[in-house]
Point group: D2
Chain length 365, copies 4
Amino acid sequence: MEKLPVAILGATGAVGQRFIQLLENHPWFEVSELVASDRSAGRDYADAVRWVLDGEPPTRIRSMRIKPLDSNLESPLVFSALPKEAADPHELRLASAGHVVCTNASLNRMLEDVPLLLPEVNAEHLALIDIQRANRGWTTGALVANSNCTIMPVVMSLAPLRQFGIEKILIVSAQAISGAGYPGVPALDILDNIIPYISGEEDKMETESLRMLGKLNGDHVEWLPAVVSATSNRASVIDGHLVNLSVSLKSQPRLDDILEAWAQFRGSDPVSLLPGAPEEPVHYFEQPDRPQPRRDRNYGKGMTTSIGRLRECPLLGYKFVALSHNTIRGAAGCSILNAELMAARGYISGFYPEIAASNPDAVMA
Amino acid sequence: MEKLPVAILGATGAVGQRFIQLLENHPWFEVSELVASDRSAGRDYADAVRWVLDGEPPTRIRSMRIKPLDSNLESPLVFSALPKEAADPHELRLASAGHVVCTNASLNRMLEDVPLLLPEVNAEHLALIDIQRANRGWTTGALVANSNCTIMPVVMSLAPLRQFGIEKILIVSAQAISGAGYPGVPALDILDNIIPYISGEEDKMETESLRMLGKLNGDHVEWLPAVVSATSNRASVIDGHLVNLSVSLKSQPRLDDILEAWAQFRGSDPVSLLPGAPEEPVHYFEQPDRPQPRRDRNYGKGMTTSIGRLRECPLLGYKFVALSHNTIRGAAGCSILNAELMAARGYISGFYPEIAASNPDAVMA
Amino acid sequence: MEKLPVAILGATGAVGQRFIQLLENHPWFEVSELVASDRSAGRDYADAVRWVLDGEPPTRIRSMRIKPLDSNLESPLVFSALPKEAADPHELRLASAGHVVCTNASLNRMLEDVPLLLPEVNAEHLALIDIQRANRGWTTGALVANSNCTIMPVVMSLAPLRQFGIEKILIVSAQAISGAGYPGVPALDILDNIIPYISGEEDKMETESLRMLGKLNGDHVEWLPAVVSATSNRASVIDGHLVNLSVSLKSQPRLDDILEAWAQFRGSDPVSLLPGAPEEPVHYFEQPDRPQPRRDRNYGKGMTTSIGRLRECPLLGYKFVALSHNTIRGAAGCSILNAELMAARGYISGFYPEIAASNPDAVMA
Amino acid sequence: MEKLPVAILGATGAVGQRFIQLLENHPWFEVSELVASDRSAGRDYADAVRWVLDGEPPTRIRSMRIKPLDSNLESPLVFSALPKEAADPHELRLASAGHVVCTNASLNRMLEDVPLLLPEVNAEHLALIDIQRANRGWTTGALVANSNCTIMPVVMSLAPLRQFGIEKILIVSAQAISGAGYPGVPALDILDNIIPYISGEEDKMETESLRMLGKLNGDHVEWLPAVVSATSNRASVIDGHLVNLSVSLKSQPRLDDILEAWAQFRGSDPVSLLPGAPEEPVHYFEQPDRPQPRRDRNYGKGMTTSIGRLRECPLLGYKFVALSHNTIRGAAGCSILNAELMAARGYISGFYPEIAASNPDAVMA
């Protein structure tokens, strides 16, 4: 199978670097266009980037020439790691020009016809693409969004509990510094410290969670009818957002029922067959002091949400802790999984991965 | 005025070192006996101690000879920084022998006749000493306890809100590594990490808080009739326990009423006159990203509880963040304030600080 | 005595904040003008500043209005915390207009007629002010400089060893993040990490050290005729630059001679009488694992250089470790001490501190 | 090919865990016996271990029963992660009983007939095994040692420079906390700090380096005739020992000659063919701020030594920085590579890996 050429917008930033790192050796996709702001455009990637991940950029990427933001692109699939301001004009322009655009910005995430996609949780929301294309007169173009990175461990751990009737959700986060991008958090602010505030974060957590956990109803998503209270903290951790959760569940399951729900949780086909899907979407640790960000963020190649410490909450009924890698599952890795799902479902024009060819029923269900 | 000789049990440990540091130049008390385990007994302090605080031990202390744990002591007042196992036999023995013992161990903290004292919050509980002495046949001896260090910012910030009828309290902590003593938390466990579990901590937080906020009723304390849910985390912070709190209040005050209650909060006389009492027991920060452990733990010489981010909680009504220095206000500093209150109230036989002499009414009220 | 009004240039930055903090309650100087860039000018200090030090700005300062950089100032004494680019036009303009300007920028530090002053080490260099005034036609104005903050522990620890004939100096630093200002070092770069490079730092260390340790010879400083090799590293430390030093000494003293030289080292009068001078300019720690940045940077209120681990070096003869607080002794604190020395020596027109009045001989020597 | 059964002594400690992690899926060796102290012996591995590496122990290992230290073992090859005291009786006993023992303890490392092996650097030293067996009357048993973990980046980066005549070596280290084992360094000692002292470390660095870089001469190793001065520091880094080096080289090569020597450096056959050998034994980074511990310690799966910042040293001639992963290349990974070399050379009785069979000349050279 020939690989699908993909473009990366914002290729020199921290999330852009993650895209490059995660797409190296991807079985379906191949990075063929790098796009960045004027400061970098026209230069070779190795010269323009200040590489902040491990080691060095992949050899093949080092000598690729960076294109300017307003370029017309050739790749059918575009991963955008642009910040809000830059995302604004360019993402819609490219979707309108026929590209499938996977955005990580918060900008258009809550538009009614833009799926806020998390394959194991709400693959059905992908049908919004049909609405979106009809609404906007697009044929091959599409815009699909990732959620805020902090809500990821919340939604992943709660999705299997929807069957018990989620009514109240109280979240207190301890978020990694990479969540703020690069250069992001000054070391003077966070070493030997915690910052009990992240601008705009709590609002996103209280709304995006309910939309992601909601049901598709015709042309829109019906939000989960629960009440959320979210509190954000920045911690002295490189990668990995940890959340302490208290929840109330209508049917009052036993703790064992909840453990069983997590153990059984798998994305429906074709999600579990996608190359970027982890074996376990969620993993429960028995040890009382796990999960921990540094030790468990890379579980399932950074795509598994780790859970621990399920116990009773005197106020809301149930308490536990959950953790996701914020720049893999919470950003670039999830975007790639979203794109894989779109490809498997036939939403990327002219590209049919083997999985789509060999499982037409499952895939097109 | 001649200073009162005091002894420190567990003088070489981390909390013992804090006692020495804080009592240097104390206007009423003077360290005159150092007590530690067999490993240190018989040696000069400077030789036995591995000093983990700033700089070097005070010059006068360096050459003091350390006494063994089973010594008979001469100091009327004893500060104990012993861990649970060592505290068990020795604290009660010394109280029984006529010493006023201020304990930091959790061992006897919840005995009905032992005051769990926090002067600004429950100075009236000190009357339990009379019950205690009657119960146990003691005349000059007494045992008074400090709370768990993590509950300190909870109790300090909630005490001024008792007037609004506290019904529910949800706490998620981020606790400093010094809370585990020395050597305590291995660096391999906490650098670039959070540990979402501290053994035994949540139980203490859920019970001690209610006793401390309760009312004295004859010979016992009537606990505050609220429900508490506590979650503990260890963070990569040297000193300073931070708690995110959600609370429900019966009378549903406006946010301004709460700010006003904090601004007005002062210990009643003689508490506010004690040498170790901070000017403000609680201080509210207007900046949205304060308080922070590293920057605000030393506010009010480590005795003020810092509060910030008061806002509505969609679930419980009110949310805010609070911070106390865990080895000053949460341990040694609070013990010293407790002892000052006991002295001012005449509970330390033969010692009358000026404040007691000059304000007999206030003091003996 | 009435206090001397002083201005602070760059008052909202990290070093500017240190000036404000250290000058609070200064016996001679009083902050009366705050100057900053356009972004802050015209606003009250509390509104413009993002306070990154402990607690809150001093109450009196909070409501002071910030002046723009091109203001004409009234304060005879000006402390400048401006970065290089901003320092360029304004510092010389103000000196030329009659102000005594204490600069922390590297810009004019190595001009032949600008003293690179460190009172305990080279108070005699202050005579360059007379040359400077003659050269430039100034009467009351002057420009005096601080050294690079990393060379501070080197120069302070080597000054007492000049008597032994310093020939070779090999320095490897571990520098605190506050040395890069605010926001400075991104947390993503330094948490769980060391950066073995700081742009421009090694050159400064190899030259400024020799000028500071040199002798005044008529109208210029004759550099110490030694060879220096410096290597810079950034470490995960908030404050406190630590240097590992190997040195060769011509007269090959015994280790005890070196210890004695450090123990005896004091600034000559009036330096040791200045309000900002620490009791011990250098302090030797006997414990093998001291000094350490976090525990010892505040020794002597951050003005003492801590030394430890003196031993033989198989290659250069002698090895030891030294530590100075980089934003106190290495920046604001040293600037203030320099200004105190200038006042005591009568270089600040119209201002005669008591020390100058009562010790005319010592002072004017 | 059937895999060779191996035993791990000290299997529950930090280095023991690394052995288990690195041997999972090893092409030649298979963990079949776990040995630990009385506290753990008799228990299943998952119950006895406090796993401090990422994720969870490999499934197959979790249920293995731990044997006591004084067991008679069946595995021909034994990796020992025992600390000095425990290593003393057991390692020699097992070697004497016919096992090939790869030790990580410092205990017998400098015995004349024990090779201090680093395959790319001194594979020829392996011939000491023949001497050792003759000396001690062993036939299949052998004892081979790893060096101190901090000297690893020194020896790896200097080995290619032996051709230029190494005369003087000055080393200043910044060592990771994992170098002290688990629990090892208390977080209270190292967060926001550097400790300028590690007991016993400097002596080892000054001697082991010269033996490792030396030449085999009949029945012993002739040390490299150079002078070494080493200084040790502990830094706030999880893994990765970084060293700043100054060296003098007799033939005074140009900087480019040195870069070329590093680029060309490869272990001689069969070393470069061993499964654990990295593609590049040393890698030079062009960027001025690399290598860095967190970002580059895993280069070459943790087996490559990263080098950067080659430049002139005003005192010794040349300066640069080097970095090795201390628990992979500096401990478990190197031990495994040593064992692979022994197998390839036919020193493990009855086990002939393909590489030995197919390259008899290269292997037996």
